[in-house]
């Protein structure tokens, strides 16, 4: 967004906004950094460190094959994390997302098993599973908003109930195979180069044009817009990243379909969170619930909706997992899926204290987690060490969040 200055000049002339100079632009950026608005900086630094570390241990780490795998592996965590972001934004927590991913996977897998007993098309199964997710999220929200039960407890209860449902649903065999090609295809389809390049160029163009239009709109309102150099830098950076992904994956099996789906989901959810009334109210409630209430916002409704989104995205994450693993077993949604999903959001910069965070933080965090997991897998590290490393990363992320929050609080200017 453009950095705005108060309109000055004659009262009766509507001044036309100018583009900032590069220096002004950079100054604003540094000032934000100093006041604790650290943005993606820790993630970028973290990713560089991780890449250097694992590449030094094993030179297949940065290979096209491993990076393509990584993109597929991060998808489920990223999906669940985007839902967690909404819950964290209102200052609550959802411990049930792992279990709900398992429940979603079980519902879908069972309903599409071609055993002649009431099987349904995969999209009907998905619809039902998502409906269950929405209802469960609604129940969470209702208990939290209307009764005042801490979200930690409500969702912990669902964690246990969900585990039970997964155990019951997977039956004696403890495993349901997924044979439906559409479901398997979600995480196992790789796009032709021509398709991948077309999507990439389309996405970059849309990014460049919307950015340009938003600057122009700001200037037409008399506000200042980012400098041209900043515009070019941002657009180029986005282009390099997107084209880089397409080029690298092109050297392996191709751009994963799930990456495109994930990208689309993030764009849609970001528009929802940052450019709609509802999204604005989510941030407001997370920042100051009492102020939101006085502004006429229905605080309970916002909270309930966020829990619904949390469980909805968890079920979608369960679908992605079932697709990638081609099965759902009785440990679905267990292990470190929950911790990784929460860590993903927090590592990406979403605050546990509510009101701060972006949808894209889920992607950034999931990328960090998947990078570490992938590296540890490649080096054949045992599970015990993996758990400890994941725990340490989460601790670091939360510490960064807490420290930057304190910086922000103490930077009120006189």
């Amino acid at each position: 967004m453009a950095i705005t200055e108060l309109v000055d000049g004659d009262n009766n002339v509507t001044p036309v906004g100018k583009r900032l100079s590069f220096a002004e632009n950079a100054r604003g950026w540094i000032q934000n950094l100093k006041s604790g608005e650290i943005g993606s900086l820790p993630v970028v630094l973290g990713l560089v460190l991780i890449a250097v570390f694992f590449q030094a241990q094993n030179d297949r780490y940065l290979s096209a094959q491993n990076l393509t795998n990584l993109l597929v592996q991060m998808a489920a965590i990223a999906t669940i994390s985007t839902g967690i972001v909404f819950v964290l934004l209102i200052g609550e927590i959802d411990l049930s997302v792992g279990a709900m991913a398992g429940v979603g996977g079980v519902i879908i897998a069972r309903l599409i098993v071609p055993d002649g007993t009431a099987e349904v098309p995969w999209y009907v199964a998905l619809g039902l599973a998502l409906l269950v997710g929405i209802v469960v999220g609604g129940i969470h929200g209702w208990f939290v908003a209307k009764i005042g039960v801490p979200s930690l407890i409500v969702t912990l209860a669902t964690l246990f109930i969900g585990r039970g449902v997964v155990l019951a649903g997977t039956g004696k065999q403890g495993l349901i195979r997924v044979q439906d090609d559409s479901v398997i295809g979600i995480a196992n389809t790789f796009l032709q180069p021509s398709v991948a390049w077309t999507i990439a160029i389309g996405a970059i163009s849309i990014y460049a044009v919307t950015n340009y239009l938003s600057d122009r709109n700001a200037m037409s309102q008399g506000l200042s817009a980012q400098s041209w150099s900043m515009y070019v830098a941002r657009t180029s950076l986005a282009a390099v990243m997107v084209l880089g992904v397409v080029a690298v994956t092109g050297n392996d099996r191709g751009l994963p379909l799930i990456t495109v789906l994930l990208g689309a989901a993030v764009v849609i959810l970001t528009v929802f969170a940052e450019r709609t009334h509802f999204g604005r109210y989510i941030y407001a409630v997370g920042g100051n619930a009492e102020a939101s209430r006085r502004a006429g916002i229905n605080v309970d409704r916002i909270k309930i909706a966020c829990f619904m989104i949390g469980s909805f995205m968890a079920v979608l994450g369960g679908l992605v997992l079932a697709s990638r693993l081609r099965s759902v077993d009785n440990s679905a949604g267990e292990g470190n899926l929950l911790l990784n999903s929460i860590a993903g959001a927090v590592i990406g910069g979403t605050s546990l204290f509510g009101g701060r965070g972006k949808i894209s933080s889920a992607i950034q965090g999931a990328l960090v987690i998947a990078s570490v997991e992938s590296g540890m897998g490649l080096l054949g590290w045992p599970s015990d060490r993996k758990f400890m490393v994941t725990g340490a990363i989460l601790l670091i992320a939360v510490t960064v969040d807490t420290v930057s929050r304190r910086t922000r609080q103490s930077s009120g200017r006189a």
Partner: protein
């Protein structure tokens, strides 16, 4: 300053409010004229906050009637009062730290563009215009988060937020209580500018010195009763202090509630 032959902007008559055994307000009258700053003073527990919460629709009064610009009106909830053009800036300001100045000023009343998305640019322009109109110039940008602002700047944003919606009356609860000297000055000047624009401003403050700089008139509450209504040019700080501590009570506390029938259902508004 305020010509009392005018119609009051807001006229409150005979307001009583009881909380259990505590009679917070007894038969209180209040008039607020356009373009005046009315100082509402009284000791702790005198009923000042209760009175403004009644005016803002946060409390239902037990008895009492309201007129706005001469017309009888009902104020049953906060929306009623904001629809009339009465805005309250509470002591705790009610700003979202994580949102920027513009987003706070438009909270709950955001502007949409043609496709139904938030129109950030228009809101920024209007926020900047309002701040400029009120000569709030210490704020560098309407894009700053509230967390980055000083106490005085926050107070200014809260006031600007209150007046940008064509409000006619603004109520400020202890606007300078948490501020240093320079910031207090900013806010006092802002209050004067509001009245210069023709708004009626009701200010609660414990700081009589500050209040004497900006108020045209003082209304003194004591133990829930109005004990004085003093025009600044005809009074002294000493007289106001006397009214606060020893103003003549009309009703003897504890004996009045029976004949006034303090049942909550007996609501003059309904």
């Amino acid at each position: 300053m305020a010509g009392h032959d005018q119609t009051p902007l807001l006229e409150v008559s005979g307001v009583s409010k009881r909380f259990g055994s505590v009679q917070a307000l007894y038969d209180v009258d209040l008039e607020l004229y356009p373009g005046e700053v009315l100082g509402l003073v009284g000791d702790n527990g005198a009923g000042k906050s209760t009175l403004i919460k009644a005016i803002s629709g946060n409390y239902k009064v037990d008895t009492g009637t309201f007129k706005f610009q001469g017309q009888p009106v009902q104020i049953n909830d906060p929306k009623d009062s904001s629809d009339l053009g009465i805005e309250v800036v509470y002591q705790d300001l009610a700003l979202c730290d994580n949102l920027n100045v513009t987003q706070n000023m438009f909270l709950g009343r955001e502007e949409k563009n043609g496709v139904g998305l938030l129109d950030e640019a228009t809101m920024q322009r209007r926020a900047a215009e309002t701040l400029k109109r009120l000569s709030v110039t210490t704020l560098g940008s309407v894009n700053l988060n509230i967390a980055q602002l000083s106490g005085g700047q926050r107070q200014s944003v809260a006031v600007a937020k209150a007046v940008m919606w064509n409000s006619k009356a603004v109520i400020l609860d202890e606007p300078t209580a948490a501020l240093g000297v320079a910031q207090t000055r900013q806010v006092l000047e802002l209050v004067r500018r509001l009245s210069a624009e023709g708004l009626g401003v009701l200010v609660i403050s414990h700081n009589l010195h500050d209040l004497f700089e900006i108020a045209d008139r003082f209304m003194v509450l004591r133990l829930g009763q109005k004990v004085a209504d003093l025009v600044k040019t005809e009074t002294t700080q000493q007289q106001v202090v006397e009214a606060i501590t020893a103003g003549q009570l009309k009703y003897v506390p504890g004996q009045v509630t029976d004949d006034r029938d303090g049942e909550r259902e007996d609501n003059g508004n309904n």
